[in-house]
Symmetry: C2
Subunit: 293 residues, 2 copies
């Protein structure tokens, strides 16, 4: 029997992912707090319902793509949430980046009713969602993962089963440490170069292929140089994820001096009005710090 | 007329580079403080002389590959140094990583005698030297650069003319900021992963191709995981270069909080006996810091 598929949360990421499910000829039930966000999907045959509970009533597999921990908790455990209509064998897949601890709680709750909650945060941004090249890091029951893996191929390219509940989120947080501290490396390196009047384009070209090379240098370096702060991934979202990193670190007694420094400097970026800019706006903070007088 | 070529400093890097010059059928005059280091080159036809001054007497182009600023100053300006025998039109190429300010002083001194001093630090390690795939960042007179560029192709793959004297060293220091802070990003990310009992190989595989990816993650991450601390580039040399970074930063009033943090944690690595290990040994410090009790 064909799985009935639901999708909750139709923001920039969710709407693109749901559209790719329609491309793959899945029939789709969708819900979003703002109904207008579903209009394009409805025009293509998706069925819009008014609550997460109704999605759960009509579907065997329910994807969630919202922003933060309380948003997912509301969708799952809130009034008219999924948990109020959950059935044995149902699989709930959370593509949001949220707290690993809260993830495990929701997985425990659903498992008591015979249902599965998989944490499956993504990376690759709206471009990855549109082109179907997202990386997806999945934690939770492995048999449930095997059922949804083929469905997620509609938008995921690198799909990794990481282990038990929470390990998808933890792997995403590892990624956020890498992303934010490597970004800071690029900011300081280019600031040093600029203060010493090096040709910045030439410097990036000379170094990008060597031991100092990174995705952040190759992709964000050129945007820092020309002051293009249009967002791939916003400072505000980076900060939300760094808060999750530092909270998890505190719980596990893991000292993270560099990620903490990046978080503090991103706070300065937010204070300077760069919250909705791309994470490459961190460069402005590091550069100003190096030019105070 | 064929250029007569000299090479001073036959350590791990210099000996490999000189050997590739012989491979390219250049006739070579060499000098090293320790004569035994030249034996393989002498057996292949290189002529060993007893001082930098003698190299300068016999050669039009002289390469230097030693360790630190005082070593280069001794080779150039010391007793029996190159400057004592310098002739108009001679080109001295310094492959060591040293102070940009000291570099400019030596270039000024030699220019008074009509000779050229190019700063040309390399990256790519002993493997790059052996295989002829080094990156070389060059500062100084452009016409002098054009003369030595074809010769350096014997061991250099990516050769970038960066600008006036000192800009090669400054570009190398930009690289050292990138390398050390990105390394720290990998250390913290893998420490967070290990403390949360993630499968480390799987984590690196899931993230290396994405926005958190870097040369450091792909190359040093796997060695950190298995505790392989054999040096590609040693902690002691990284510290020497970070000192140059922070000195240059102080002179130019450039605040470098992340590079400074990396420097402090590498100091802890040296204190723990990892000075001669590879820079991936930074992982042991970050991991211990996260596991004190």
């Amino acid at each position: 029997m064909e799985n009935r598929i639901g999708f909750i949360g139709l923001g920039i990421m969710g709407a693109q992912m749901a559209a790719r499910l329609l491309d793959s000829r899945h029939s789709l039930v969708v819900h979003s707090r703002t109904k207008s966000r579903g209009s394009r999907l409805i025009a293509r045959g998706a069925k819009f319902v008014d609550s997460p509970a109704e999605v759960a009533q009509q579907c065997d597999i329910v994807f969630i793509c919202v922003t933060d921990t309380p948003d997912v908790q509301a969708v799952v455990s809130g009034e008219d949430g999924i948990a109020s209509c959950v059935r044995s064998g149902m699989v709930v897949v959370d593509h949001s980046t949220i707290s690993p601890a809260a993830t495990r709680e929701m997985a425990d709750d659903l498992s008591k009713q015979g249902a599965y909650f998989l944490d499956a945060p993504v990376s690759g941004g709206d471009v990855g969602a549109r082109e179907g090249t997202l990386s997806i890091m999945v934690g939770g029951d492995q048999a449930a993962f095997d059922r949804v893996d083929p469905v997620m191929r509609a938008y995921g390219q690198t799909i990794t089963y990481c282990g038990p509940s929470g390990t998808g989120q933890l792997t995403k947080l590892v990624n956020q440490i890498l992303v934010s501290v490597t970004n800071l490396a690029v900011c300081e390196a280019l600031t040093f170069a600029k203060k010493h009047r090096l040709d910045l384009e030439k410097t990036v070209a000379a170094l990008a292929g060597g031991a100092g090379g990174s995705w952040q240098l190759a992709n964000l370096g050129p945007r820092m140089i020309v002051g293009d702060f249009r967002p791939g991934f916003t400072v505000n979202l980076q900060q939300k994820d760094l808060q999750l990193v530092l909270q998890a670190g505190e719980k596990s007694n893991t000292s993270l001096p560099a990620a903490s420094l990046a978080h503090q400097l991103f706070t300065a970026a937010q204070a300077a009005g760069h919250g909705k800019d791309g994470t490459q706006a961190l460069f402005t903070v590091v550069e100003k710090l190096a030019s105070l007088h």
